[in-house]
Amino acid sequence: MKIDLSFTLNGSPINTSVAVDRRLVDLLRDELDLTGTKIGCEEGECGACTVLVDGQAVNSCLFPAPEVDGKHVITIEGLGESDNRLSELQQAFVDQGGIQCGFCSPGMILSARALLNENPNPSQDEIREALGGNLCRCTGYVQIVDSIQTAAARENSDD
């Protein structure tokens, strides 16, 4: 059974219909062609599929697509600045080496975004706590945490 769905995706309105049991990650990747959102475990353990729904980081592999009706969804593709520039957060990952294979990066960056929205000046421990559901097999997390701290400092000095 399909139901109609209207939501905002990366700032643009989307009107579509989905099967009631469709997962958000499949809607994004398979129907809307936004492959920046990754799949690592499909059971809420790795965070590779993290996106923002009304500013909250959620695992899109567990999130029913119909539930985004009327909400704002942000994926990695929607995080850059309008003129093709990287956001401070993305730029910090580039500068501090927060990326190796990069498969965890979209999810990491969106979890970091949710954290910084709530807490613009997080401590090391708060960052590590917030990333607890995002696994990375390559980096050992140190440069990821550095990236987020760098981004926080830059964002704070901007305002």
Partner: protein, 729 residues
Amino acid sequence: MKCTVVGKRVERKDARAKVTGETIYPSDRSREGMLWVVAVRAAHPHARILSIDTERAAAAAGVVRVLTARDVPGENAFGIQFHDMPVLCSDRVRYLGDVVALVGAESRRAARQAAALVAVDYQPLALLTDPEQALDPATPALHPGGNILHEVHFHKGNISVGFQKSAVIVERSYQLPMMDHAFLETEAGLSYFDENDVLCVESCGQYIYRDRKQIASVLGLAEEKIRVSAEMVGGAFGGKDDITVQIQLALMTYVTGRPAKMVASREESIVAHSKRHPASMWFKTGASKSGKLMAVEARFLSDTGAYASLGGPVLNLMAEHAAGPYLVPHVKVDGHVVYTNNGFSGAFRGFGCTQACVGIESQMDLMARALRRDPLAFRQANVLHQGDAAGLGYEMKTAVGAEPTIRAARAGKLYRQRRRIKKDRTHVSPSLAPFIRRGVGVASQMQGLGLGVGIEDQAEVEVVLGPGGAVRVKVGTTEIGQGAYTAYAQMTAERLGVPLEQVEIVGADTGTCPDSGATTASRTTYAVGNAILLAIAKLEQRRSAWAAQGTGRENLSARANFTVPTQDRQLGDGLPHLLYSYGTHVVLVEVNTLTGEISVEAVEAYLDGGRVVSPLGFEGQSEGGIAQGIGYTLFEEVLLDRGRFLNTNFDTYILPSSKDVPTAIHTVPIEVMEKSGPLGAKGISETCTVGVAPAILNALEDAIGIRFVRLPVRAEDVILAREESPHES
């Protein structure tokens, strides 16, 4: 030599596309009209196949084709060293990852549903899950040649004389677990026929040319009719060295003519792909009263599971590295690697050195303790230098950086201040303080670089100078996250004297790139880097020749091939090596004796891989290697019960999270320049993880007085061990 691009903290070439989600990984690929392919895997870890009935599956909604062994046009087998893995099993299965049929359907859901309808009649066979039992000639054989895949027997000097001269002798057995690579992107890819009827496989392998050869022999096609690519991949660590989905995809497209896509689920991934070899090891080592190492004797039993993969070479490297980076006059090493029905094991970052290092570095600590010597001073006094005879007797002919890493570690803060740091309780609450124990441990290691004697180890590249100073470097190795493309670009920019932004790396496509060899064995910076420098030298020769004639040219290209040098004498497949990277790790652990909880609080890594090309990548590799070492020591073990996997996703196969890896990681480059290396470089992608496990084990003994000999060490192991040794405080 002064460098201006090499050695600088530059931005990774692939970073921008990765933070915006633009990078296309194998699992992101799709094509109009593609089929989803799902593998039907064995229902028993060891059974005879009596019949396979695909009729219902083939008739199911959305199903286009169900393939079985009968549909394989060429050789129904593949494998890196021996072609012993069936593409599609027809008469027997030997582990749960074995594939009996492939379903191609219009959707993934339809393919999955139909896969459950393939009816296979099995007659279960006796299971072989105990590696000791595999040594018994009376045990029924899993393969025609018997259950012993390979054995090694080496000796140097006279081991009994060595022990006679020893004042201290230490003997221990060690048990090491099966470990999953847990690359974050599971095995995935896409295949299709292009407009020239070339069969293209866009996939995740670590060696595109070897993949192409294997696909060709399975399909009975000429290699030129096949194109394999694997540019950006979401992690591998050795686990995508064996073919995974490539042949299955190619076969579906070959038979149906349709594009085909496969993405393994995590559960399927953990069951199907290779693992780090589980092993039992026995070590007996001796040292003289004056602290000289006299004897190292080791016995290994490694379990390669159902298929050979690289079980032989991994055992060879265990033997090669059994005596560590030390000068030992008397050495004896014996080992077997056997077949069982326990999944299958193959290449994994560290490749046998990881296992051997747990043994020898635990022994080194135990001996230093018995001799009442400083553990690093003891290592330093016995360390190998260039020109010395290695454990198996051959000469260490190239730069040896072991001693400088130990010296630097001794001078480092963690080691110098270890007595004070161990007593420090200022970070814990006063009520908890009495239950906290801290300890500092060390380990040193070496790791062979390249494939070793007897295995072809070449890298060919092409460097193209285009208009406006643009430079393109075509390489056949995969960017699996290690940052190699950035290092290649830095070396190119350095040598040509152009800005880094002008260099583009064109990677890993047999259609456009030469054969640069495998993305394995810490080899790519060294081998591909050297090939790039050779190609540039050719270009410059031509350029000056033209300049002398007064003619200029805009488009100029040159290919060059570099062969990794080896020792003269071969001791085994890939044995020994001529080049090694080195390292010493110092680790601070903290144990809560109430809960048994262990945390790694700080790590210093002193690594010698020659010149550091990309410091940001160097540190990132080191930190990632430490995280994997922490996982190996404290968390990770693939559990099997009678050949069946018990923990196949991240809720039960536990990886270190951001809360398990310390912030206080300090990586120090010890740059002992390697003359034969590109600008003095070698590589560190494996040595950076190898010593972590024994350093943690040594730190644990320092903290709570208990010697752990079985990995992983979990909280309950700490509690149990403390109950068993109540005199320890």
